[in-house]
């Protein structure tokens, strides 16, 4: 595992995710995450966001993404200082119900 990832405290991530879920309310169904390395070998935190169907395209998708990133980037500021890059993937509720355990992009 990349050294930077060993510095990450899961409790801090979970607290930030809880805050994001509260702030975004019913727009977000679930926020999952994994720590790992991206295709270049750089350390990353991979967020998997499940949204309500109505928020999965157009300006609504854009606004949810901005708000989510603002909260998570702010609360987990330390991660970027360590070189851990945040990656986001999104599904809406219907897509997630269909794809369930199949790999995210």
């Amino acid at each position: 595992m990349h050294l930077a990832l060993t510095l990450v405290e899961p409790k801090e991530i979970e607290a930030a995710i809880a805050e994001a879920r509260q702030a975004l309310g019913s727009e977000v169904v679930d926020i999952l995450y994994e720590l790992g390395e991206d295709e270049s070998g750089d350390p990353g935190i991979f967020y998997r966001i499940v949204l309500k169907d109505a928020y999965s395209r157009g300006t609504r998708l854009g606004e949810v993404k901005k708000r989510l990133r603002a909260i998570l980037d702010h609360k987990l500021d330390q991660l970027s200082k360590w070189g851990v890059i945040a990656h986001f993937s999104y599904r809406n509720e219907s897509e997630h119900a269909e794809l369930r355990n199949r790999p995210w992009l």
Partner: protein, 166 residues
Amino acid sequence: MRYARQLLELARVLAALDAPETRQASLRRSASTAYYALLHLLISEAVSNWSSYEHRPALARVFEHGKIRTACVNARAEAVRVTKSQTGSSEALVQEHLRVVAESFLRVHSRRELADYDMRPEWRDTDAWDAIDDVSNAFESWEAIRHDPAAQAFLVSLFGTRRRAE
């Protein structure tokens, strides 16, 4: 820039083409087209500085996907550094927009690789619309800063210029 905007509009058409059904071809092509919209935006902005109009197409062919990606990795790192150390300054604001452009490129570059070359993941509407949203944001941010010296320096970095030895 007009061609780049047409590509972004085409990406939207492709994403919506089969709704409510999903077809892998349309969704993957949509994400790939969104990537090319941003790629061509950046390239056209860079070559527009070349005064000899007839030579711009040849100059545009010099650009390489990998070198642009590397330039965006560097630009993002610099943007993060400046926005954190000079919060609220006009330079930080420009760098924030550059960060949006660079990060959007990195995300859609990665998505395009999956869309065009990896048949394993199953694409859904949200995947395509996410890529379109990233590129739309990049277009907006670029419009806000395109004449700024930092933005122009970023365009030069897309060539993959080396630093001179100190």
